[in-house]
Amino acid sequence: MSDTSEPARKGQDFEQTLDRSDSRVAEFDARRHSPIERVQHVLHDNPTLVPVIVLIISLIAFGLIAGGKFFSAFNLSLILQQVSIIGMLAAAQSLIIITAGIDLSVAAIMVLMSVIMGNLAVYMGVPSGIAILVGFAGGAAAGLFNGLLITKIKLPPFITTLGTWSIFYSLLLWLSGAQSIRGTDIDANAPFLKFFGSTIELGGARITLGSLLMVLIFVALWYMLNKTPWGRHVYAIGDDKEAAELSGIRTDRVLVSVYMLAGFVCAVAGWASIGRVGSISPQSFYEGNLQSITAVVIGGISLFGGRGSIMGALFGALIVGVFQSGLRMAGVDVLWQVFAIGWLIIIAVAIDQWIRRVSA
């Protein structure tokens, strides 16, 4: 390698034989694998397959239990509609969980921004477009606030967002006076706020623009995470923040951008939620944080960061939606729905662990 022409007589004596050394790389005999091992391997190489398979199995299972109605285009499109808002929150949540963080404030940001959009457009006569932009900016600002606390003051994300959740939640109660804004008032003054509630009929299926928006958000974020340098940095930070910092990532800057983007996505979800719910209510989505986390973990994204595809969260949200819809159609009491979701979480993640074990 070195360009000197003198004989390679360097180093200690025992190193002199090195130029003759073998450069073979270990190659081991391919042994036969048991079918179950082969499945494990395939899944291990394509981890997002797991939630997809769970989704398909639960679709089939509920089709059998709850009857053909379950499989109608209408019902399937309805499930898509019903998960759209939690799905968007799960997209935002995934971004953060991939950095090894967690955001307990996503739902509060979303509702707060929908209240702000509503107050501005419905009560204060601000044009809807501007009200929405103010909401978007607000979402990004809320994310910025989280991000700065986490990077500058170095608070753990869990604690930060536990605190900011309280702050955002009390602000939204205050701004709304705990009152809902009625659907008819929105229709009269700012119908554009309900834009994402519009539906496209497609042979039995009724797909709302909100459902499409959710899918779009996932695709866009997937692209950003997997095809751009920024995405590599996000994964690297989640994997090992210190190593990422030392290898030249401005980790704080990237983290702040992640929280801002997540806040922005929450605000978009806030807009979409107006279309979905038909009105703006400070009481909605109180459990949205936990629901979004549930979708993310069922989707196989590691809470330790750095591993998992954001698409998993989409399937995770759909799985929960299918379960809820299926159980309801099968006439199961709410109580036992809660019970079933508990087991779903445990079993989905247990399968995921089993697959990962292949590399341990």
Binding site: I85, A178, Q179, G278, S281
Partner: protein, 315 residues
């Protein structure tokens, strides 16, 4: 100056927010120093217990409380009474009702019954073939939840079996129950779910008006905004406007401001004379009344129009 407390279930429900506004105004007028407390969620016993204790510690002369759990709070308000405070339940009764010195409340069973009767009468003969969706509060089935639900069914003429249990009925006209958390997003999802079970639903009972608004959105999205009767309880101004707009068929109006002002008045009297308020005749509480609000009145069921309702509504 007389000290008094108002303890509501939550601070997120406009009903209680109005109640607090009313009580604060009345207290100011009566020269009473009022502190307000609220639970964090419907069912937050712990926070209400702590609030009562703080009131005792502060030497309150009277406590107005909307018990978030009608049984669980009895021990602590008994303490408050022993400490010499007048305890008045608002909106929700204690079990037993005489655990408090008095109760100023809507008859929630009655509120449900009225809208049930209205729905049955409106449908007429068709009532026998009705398809009913019941949109309740949440999995924990608090008293207002089952009282209204069971009242509605009773009014409609359905056997409720255990009157404290939601969902044990087997009348084929009931398509199903689902929970809404009393919010529009919950109302919408629950309605969608029940429509999935039977798209022919034509009567929808809702625990409150925000849930009704959500249910309406679901119906509208399914192209069923005409021809389905939505009934509800509350009488908040947004709800009455929904009656006016034909979204809600009928609603049972409650009077939180009256509850609040009556309560403050009672504390004032008690502080001055030691006299305690009396219950309505034949009832174990003072009925602050309930008014049926509808623009389609039916025979034999007194009601107010939405225009009249708008004059009395709260919030």
């Amino acid at each position: 100056q007389t000290a008094a407390c108002l303890i509501t279930k939550t601070d997120t429900n406009p009903f209680f927010v109005k109640m607090k506004e009313g009580a604060t105004a009345a207290a100011e007028e009566a020269g009473i120093e009022l502190s307000a407390f609220a639970g964090k969620y419907d069912g937050d016993v712990e926070t209400q217990v702590a609030a009562v204790e703080s009131c005792i510690a502060a030497g309150a002369k009277g406590i107005l409380i909307t018990p978030t759990d009608s049984r669980a709070l009895v021990p602590v308000i008994t303490q408050a009474r022993e400490a010499g405070a007048l305890v008045i339940a608002l909106d929700t009764q204690f079990e037993p009702a005489d655990a408090a010195d008095a109760t100023f409340a809507t008859d929630n069973f009655k509120a449900g019954e009225l809208i049930g009767q209205w729905a049955a009468a409106t449908l007429g003969d068709e009532a026998a073939n009705a398809k009913i969706a019941l949109l309740d509060l949440n999995a924990s089935e608090v008293s207002v939840d089952y009282q209204r639900d069971q009242g509605f069914l009773t009014g409609f003429g359905i056997d409720v079996k255990d009157p404290k249990d939601i969902g044990d009925e087997d009348d084929p006209r009931i398509v199903g129950n689902d929970v809404t958390d009393g919010s529009p997003d919950g109302g919408r999802t629950a309605m969608e779910n029940l429509l999935q079970i039977d798209p022919e639903i034509n009567v929808v009972y809702t625990i409150n008006e925000p849930a009704a608004a959500g249910a309406y959105e679901a119906l509208k999205a399914a192209g069923k905004d005409e021809g389905v009767l939505i009934v509800s309880v509350d009488g908040g101004c947004p709800g009455v406007k929904d009656v006016e707009a034909g979204i809600i068929g009928a609603t049972s109006m409650q009077f939180p401001l009256l509850m609040a002002s009556k309560g403050i008045e009672a504390i004032k009297t008690f502080a001055e004379t030691g006299e305690k308020p009396q219950n309505s005749e034949g009832l174990d509480f003072f009925n602050t009344g309930v008014e049926l609000i509808t623009d389609q009145p039916v025979e034999g069921l007194p009601s107010l129009s939405s225009a009249e309702g708008l004059e009395k509504c709260w919030g």
